[in-house]
């Protein structure tokens, strides 16, 4: 099974981004998704900068995919999308149907987690347009994913989001700016102050969500480490880890060691815990509420969505 690193969803500075990808070069990561997927106002790197990073990663043997915005409204956003779609070097991950429209018929592309693939008919249709890989929408559970995977079109690869905060929703409104009484037009890039997102607590002080610009994520880390055996037996092609600012090389190392049978799941869970300030969850995989904590729900009573 291959390991991928999803696009960075937070607004990090240039040096931090470069250092992040440099540290991945010597890891067991097979595939790296690059580019801005959340907010077009984040312009720390331009397409040429991303292509430079892509070149370094590709030279070290990684497969590189260029990711695209999930919410596209402005003409300038569509123009950037077109530039990415027309790059002649790297395949592209579509995160909006606009990208599918531009990529269809122009060689293989990837269906990102924000394209709604819930059934085999949708997957087959998009395959005919050139999709070669799909990443399941976050809320799909084991039973649904298994059926989609078992009946997938020929040579279609299945990628499952296995580790990171869940991307749950997008809005036209910037929640980071709102929390600072700023409008989106005058946001001052306040989201760059929160490199792992801005925590939102319930009034009884449970960390519930994370605000990341126009995106809302889970506060807890979605963690399928305890289910890796199952993912292998289903035949899942790729597991995805989403970037967070600390411990990425170690997180990759822990997951790959479990995959290679070198590390017991229980020990892996303990080692990962330090990178999960608000705990971890795996409810979606078990067919229930996404926020259900790992191992809180006995397997036999979990029903699938």
């Amino acid at each position: 099974m291959k390991i991928s690193i999803g696009p960075i969803q937070y607004f990090w500075g240039r040096e931090k981004i470069l250092a992040f990808y440099d540290q991945l070069i010597d890891t067991r990561v097979d595939i790296v998704y690059l580019g801005e997927t959340v907010c077009s106002k984040r312009r720390e790197l331009n397409l040429n900068d991303w292509l430079e990073i892509a070149g370094r990663l590709a030279a070290s043997g990684k497969e590189v995919i260029l990711s695209t915005l999930a919410l596209l409204e402005a003409g300038s956003e569509l123009a950037s999308l077109q530039q990415i779609a027309e790059n002649n070097v790297y395949p592209v991950e579509a995160n909006d149907v606009a990208a599918v429209q531009l990529l269809a018929g122009h060689g293989p592309f990837v269906l990102g987690p924000h394209i709604n693939v819930y059934n085999n008919e949708t997957l087959a249709f998009l395959h005919r347009l050139g999709a070669k890989r799909w990443i399941s929408p976050v809320e799909l559970g084991r039973n649904t994913i298994t059926r989609l995977h078992e009946n997938r079109p020929p040579a279609m690869e299945t990628e499952i989001f296995a580790y990171g905060r869940l991307p749950l929703a997008f809005s036209a409104r910037c929640f980071s700016a709102r929390a600072h009484d700023k409008s989106k037009d005058d946001c001052g890039h306040i989201c760059s102050d929160y490199p792992d997102g801005l925590a939102l607590y319930t009034q009884d002080d449970d960390a519930f969500l994370v605000l990341n610009g126009i995106q809302v994520q889970s506060a807890t880390v979605h963690n399928l480490v305890a289910h890796l055996d199952e993912l292998v037996s289903i035949g899942i092609d790729i597991i995805r880890i989403d970037p967070q600012q600390h411990g990425m090389a170690e997180i990759v190392s822990v997951l790959s060691s479990v995959l290679d049978g070198q590390l017991q799941t229980g020990i892996a869970m303990e080692q990962l815990a330090r990178y999960q300030p608000y705990g971890s969850c795996d409810g979606y995989w078990r067919g229930g509420a996404g926020m259900a904590p790992v191992a809180a729900m006995p397997e036999e009573i979990a029903s699938d969505a």
Binding site: L72, H114, N120, N143, T144, A169, A172, L200, Y284
Partner: protein, 338 residues
């Protein structure tokens, strides 16, 4: 496709036959409904239509010169695919005037199997730009798109200029702050989402707790809001809750407000919008009647004398009395909201 020479249509919701009749009687140009199952995004207990009731709905709309749309706008997983296909076939058999769809696979099935059935892209289809709309138009021949509630008025105008299909926008009702069709907040907490189960923050997950100082509203164990004595308590939809961010308690995502486009009706018409839609198939007959009657009066008044249109105080009062929190917003249409 700008619709400058056409009158803007009023599309009203109905969760049952009496409400459907009331919508037609009070001035809706079309009514939209759903079947009584998980194939539509308002899959609430006691709501929606059997095929027989839907047929009666079509009949009632037709004899009054109106149209009936049917929403099949969830995303069926393999286990529920056949149920969705049967719903499409049944809608075709009943002869609804348009089918409101969201799922790509289901649209493909419908376009191939029932090529004469008029298709609208549901707001759940999440099309916020011209390329996405072009995709659904070229692949499945959709005639109309319902826009997510995330676009500014200027963006709506730019879209209508560049798209070959009719544009329908939300005009009144609850406000989804997230891009529809891509929000998993509800399933994160409850396991059920609009996409997969046709519900958001479902009633079975709601629990109220009386406290010494008021009431707490929980959704599957998560405290969504805390009300003081005497404060009006609202339904605990996750995005309308009050949470703590940087030690400050507020509506961190969105206030429980009601979208109301009354004051920008002329701008929407001039932007080339073909239809405005009222949210709320879960709403009562009285609610739908009042909204339909009021918006009908406003649209008629506009079309009689476009240059001197001004929202009347009585319309504003009537609509405000129905609104969540008794106030209204232009939402994303107004850029500063974002």
């Amino acid at each position: 496709m700008p619709a400058l020479n056409k009158k803007m249509e009023l599309i009203c919701p109905a969760g049952n036959l009496p409400t459907l009749r009331a919508a037609v009687d009070n001035g809706a140009d079309a009514v939209y409904i759903g079947f009584r199952n998980r194939t539509n995004a308002r899959n609430f207990p006691g709501l929606n239509f059997s095929p027989e009731e839907a047929l009666e709905g079509v009949r009632y709309a037709r004899i009054n010169g109106k149209r009936l749309f049917l929403a099949i706008n969830t995303f069926p997983v393999p286990e529920h695919w056949q149920e969705a296909v049967k719903a499409v076939d049944k809608a075709a058999e009943i002869g609804v005037d348009a089918l409101i769809l969201a799922d790509i696979g289901l649209m493909n099935y419908t376009a191939r199997t029932h090529p004469d059935l008029r298709l609208h892209l549901s707001v759940q289809g999440s099309a916020t730009n011209r390329h996405a709309i072009a995709f659904y138009h070229e692949q499945f021949g959709i005639s109309r798109v319902v826009l997510p509630r995330v676009l500014s008025l200027a963006q709506v105008q730019q879209l209508t200029e560049k798209t070959p299909v009719e544009v329908e926008v939300f005009g009144y009702g609850s406000l989804c702050v997230m891009v529809e069709g891509r929000c998993a907040l509800s399933s994160y907490v409850t396991g059920n989402s609009p996409n997969s189960a046709g519900v958001c923050s479902p009633a079975h997950a709601v629990r109220w707790l009386e406290t010494p100082s008021g009431r707490d509203a929980y959704l599957d164990g998560v405290l969504i809001n805390r009300y003081h004595d005497g404060e009006t308590a609202g339904y605990p939809t996750i995005c309308k809750g009050r949470f703590k961010v940087n030690n400050h308690i507020f509506h961190s995502i969105e206030e429980p407000v009601c979208l109301n486009v009354l004051e920008i009706l002329p701008e929407l018409v001039n932007a080339g919008v073909s239809a405005i839609k009222v949210e709320g198939r879960q709403r009562s007959r009285a609610y739908v009647s009042t909204v339909a009657r009021t918006l009908r009066a406003a649209l008629d008044s506009y079309h009689v004398d476009p240059d001197n249109f001004k929202p009347r105080n009585e319309w504003i009062t009537q609509l405000n009395q129905l609104a969540e929190g008794n106030c209204h917003t232009l939402g994303a249409y107004h850029r500063s909201w974002q």
